[in-house]
């Protein structure tokens, strides 16, 4: 096994790599440094530049600006045979219509080691057999590749890349045509082999959960820019999915492995990403006693980042927020809101771009919520959901109605139901979007 040429030097490196196809910029000043033995997953929506990045490293695309290196040498300065001895490639799907035997096919990977008049060497044969047995294809060596199933065929492709005996393997969506069992099988094998052989792996994977499960490091690409780069446990978040993919999701953790995973909601938000503009903060919902739950669900389904408070533990709204993964501030059941809880709530209110007040019953234990949000009304658009008049749900002896009135006079607007609220939010967002020209998504703060 060849060792990476020098320790400390990046196996693969990109420095300010920009790729333009005509007027379209596909990669935008991307920096990346991958060290020996790392398993890096490249994730991002379709068209985010994952494949282009891999093709730059393979030397198929010359960057319009910036530099791509393999083991410290610029990719385009490596002779093609030398490059093939350093980096192997597994594409999404290979369109081979011929029918070599699996052994012959895997043997294609030995091409860069054999001269034109050289017969197959003992090392060649050894590498091929090793690849076959590593991939569980030992007994299929004499079968034609056309007789293989989809999972076996992709294993054969991987075997061909392994036979190439390179310190770096690039995979472009290697499992996207496979069922879940075979996806896990392929990635498991890649990880095991990379650990055993010390091979560095860079894999484009559009499935974030697979990326988090198998990779040591996740690099998120969004519209040609590097959006985030790091430990999967840190990188994966609901906000990531909403901002980069435009999909809302719950973040969970695999109880056995502690690996985070995202559970996308059924509904997919239209447009690239809701609230993707720089500085867009969350929508804060003030609720209580179950009045907030439908609002939380609706806004969260619409793709907004939502926060809520100040609620009481075990309250329906609190349970809903818990399930939806909505950040909130809670007090112990039935107690009036304490000073600490109130100041935490004020911090949430401060971050909110929009405040929504659910039609909750106002009582002594939660009237502080209305008082606390009043100072924020002048600078934050505030909507009061009022399907029923406030005096019908004021159980604080008139204090509730007075506080409500104070909010109205501070500039809060009453809307009579959820659909009206959603329409308001959409038009608000449209106005903000047109004011802030479309830019790259901001990094999560």
């Amino acid at each position: 096994m060849r060792a990476p040429s020098a320790s400390g030097r990046a196996v693969a490196g990109l420095e300010g790599v920009t790729v333009r196809f005509g007027s379209r910029t596909v990669l935008h000043e991307v920096d990346l440094s991958v060290g020996a033995g790392e398993f890096v997953a490249l994730a991002g929506p379709n068209g985010s530049g994952k494949t282009t990045l891999l093709r730059v490293l393979l030397g198929f695309i010359r960057p319009s600006a910036g530099r791509a290196t393999l083991f410290g040498t610029p990719v385009d300065e490596l002779p093609i045979t030398e490059r093939a001895r350093r980096v192997a490639w597994v594409p999404q799907e290979e369109a081979n219509r011929d029918n070599p035997t699996v052994r012959e096919y895997v043997g294609y990977g030995r091409y860069p080691y054999r001269g034109r008049f050289q017969a197959e060497s003992a090392v060649d044969r050894e590498r091929v057999e090793e690849s076959l047995s590593d991939l569980g294809l030992g007994d299929r060596g004499d079968d034609g590749v056309q007789t293989l199933s989809g999972g076996e065929r992709q294993r054969a492709v991987l075997g061909r890349a392994l036979a190439q005996d390179t310190p770096l393997i690039l995979l472009d969506e290697p499992t996207s045509h496979l069922d879940i069992g075979h996806q896990l099988d392929i990635l498991e094998r890649v990880r095991t082999l990379s650990r055993r052989r010390g091979t560095t792996v860079i894999a484009a994977l559009h499935d974030l959960n697979l990326a988090a499960r198998f990779a040591d490091r996740v690099v998120i690409l969004s519209r040609g820019r590097k959006y985030d780069d790091g430990d999967p446990a840190r990188v994966l978040s609901e906000g990531l999915l909403a901002r980069v993919w435009g999909v809302t999701a719950d973040l969970r953790r695999d109880p056995r492995t502690g690996v985070p995973y995202l559970l996308p909601h059924q509904r997919v938000v239209e447009g690239p990403a809701i609230l993707a503009g720089p500085g867009f903060g969350p929508v804060h919902v003030v609720g209580g006693g179950g009045a907030g739950a439908p609002v939380l669900r609706a806004l969260s389904d619409d793709g907004y980042r939502v926060t809520t408070g100040a609620l009481h533990l075990l309250d329906t709204d609190a349970e809903t927020a818990e399930v939806l993964g909505i950040p909130m501030v809670v007090e112990v059941p039935f107690a009036p809101l304490g000073a600490e809880v109130r100041s935490a709530h004020r911090r949430l209110l401060e971050q909110a771009r929009v405040i929504v007040v659910a039609p909750f019953a106002v009582g002594p234990s939660n009237i502080a919520n209305l008082d606390d949000l009043e100072p924020f009304v002048p600078q934050t658009p505030t909507y009061l959901l009022a399907p029923t008049p406030i005096d019908q749900r004021d159980f604080a002896g008139g204090a509730g109605a007075r506080a409500w009135e104070a909010l109205r006079s501070a500039g809060a607007r009453e809307v009579d139901g959820l659909p009206a609220l959603q329409a308001e939010l959409r038009s608000l967002e449209a106005r903000w979007r047109s004011a802030v020209p479309a830019a790259a998504p901001a990094l999560p703060s």
């Binding site: 093709r55 393979l58 030397g59 198929f60 093609i80 045979t81 490059r83 093939a84 001895r85 980096v87 192997a88 490639w89 594409p91 290979e94 369109a95 081979n96 219509r97 011929d98 029918n99 070599p100 035997t101 012959e104 294609y108 990977g109 091409y111 860069p112 054999r114 034109r116 007994d139 299929r140 004499d142 079968d143 034609g144 056309q146 007789t147 061909r160 190439q164």
Partner: protein, 371 residues
């Protein structure tokens, strides 16, 4: 694993050899070829007894040492015997050899082009290589350029036209993205353009058009030992170089990107292979005119009956192409006694039904063209 499971395993299709009977097929083609080569000298408009034919051949091959009296045993007079010698040795054998050579050239050229373009329809005709040759030949007859030495000038111009077409494709596609599709479509466009040019030339110059038309149908009738020598040299060199690229062609079937990632310089190889294929095609066109179908069919026969491995496909396509053209020529000579029909008619007339039978009966070594 239990014995029962073993038995099931052994019976499963997976335990079959990969290409059942591939070597049997190769052997069959070879034996058929030997028989054909032995029988072909017997075929001709003048009936000569088989024993006499072989005696003449042995006599000539041994430099006159064997059968010092070539006409011994023949009741006819000696002058007639020397006419036999001329027919067998200076006509039939050169024709036989030229058919083998030209067929081999077209077969290997077709196999190369199908491999380079990853397209089962690619052949020297589709790409305009032969149209270029035809246009070159038309110049001789129509504009009466060097008509006096037509036997020399015609092959040279046909060769130049054919090779020129190949070079034109490469030049047109050079510096562009150079994708396989661009190259192929460039060739198709060029072929169309060249045929149109030829039609115009013939339309306005009816004098030579009959000769050109006849030439366009192809034939190995004009073979001489000298021509065979030239064809042999050129075709052998170019074919040998082509056969050395079997491994690269195998890898190129995985697609441009994968091939490059394995270390195959695809763009450069494509140019080299197209150039060599043009060269062998030009050799064939120069001496036989336009013979259709051989370049298309020979590689498919090999793929379907033997293997899709280009290390096998290239040499066997040459062999199959040669035998195919020889068989067609034998038919051309025998179908209407006393007349030699253009061999190009028979390659298609007899070859197409044969090929269709193969196409629908056997699904084996390769699926190229099925998916």
């Amino acid at each position: 694993m239990s014995a029962a499971a073993d038995a099931v395993d052994a019976a499963s299709p997976h335990s079959r050899p990969p290409h059942p009977g591939r070597w049997r097929s190769a052997l069959a083609i070879t034996l058929l070829g030997v028989a054909l080569v032995l029988l072909s000298p017997l075929v001709g408009s003048v009936p000569i007894p088989p024993t006499e034919v072989f005696r003449i051949i042995l006599h000539q091959l041994s430099g006159g040492a064997v059968y010092a009296q070539p006409c011994a045993g023949v009741t006819d007079s000696a002058p007639l015997c020397s006419a036999y010698v001329e027919i067998v040795w200076d006509e039939r054998l050169p024709v036989l050899l030229l058919a083998l050579l030209a067929g081999a050239a077209l077969g290997i050229s077709g196999a190369t082009l199908q491999g380079v373009f990853r397209n089962p329809l690619a052949d020297p005709y589709l790409l305009g290589l032969s149209s270029g040759g035809a246009l070159g030949a038309a110049f001789v007859y129509v504009f009466r350029i060097g008509e006096a030495e037509a036997s020399l000038v015609l092959p040279v111009l046909a060769f130049a036209g054919s090779l020129g077409a190949g070079v034109a494709i490469l030049l047109a596609a050079r510096g562009r993205s150079g994708s396989v599709e661009t190259l192929l479509l460039t060739g198709v466009a060029l072929a169309s353009f060249l045929s149109a040019t030829l039609t115009i030339v013939l339309l306005y110059n009816p004098t030579g058009s009959l000769q050109v038309s006849f030439w366009l149908l192809g034939g190995v009738g004009g073979a001489t030992w000298n021509r065979d020598g030239v064809a042999f040299g050129g075709i052998l060199i170019a074919s040998t170089l082509l056969v050395l690229h079997g491994r690269e062609l195998n890898v190129m079937q995985l697609g441009n990107d994968v091939a490059q990632s394995i270390g195959v310089p695809t763009a450069r190889l494509r140019q080299r292979l197209i150039l060599l294929a043009s060269l062998v095609t030009a050799m064939a066109v120069a001496f036989t005119g336009v013979v259709g179908f051989v370049g298309l069919v020979a590689p498919h026969i090999v793929r379907r009956t033997v293997s899709s491995d280009y290390r096998v496909v290239l040499p066997l396509s040459a062999m199959t192409g040669g035998l195919f053209l020889l068989a067609a020529n034998d038919l051309a000579v025998t179908v209407l006694p006393g007349t030699q029909l253009p061999v190009g008619i028979f390659t298609s007339f007899a070859g197409a039904p044969f090929f269709l039978t193969l196409l629908y009966r056997r699904r084996q070594a390769s699926t190229m063209g099925d998916s």
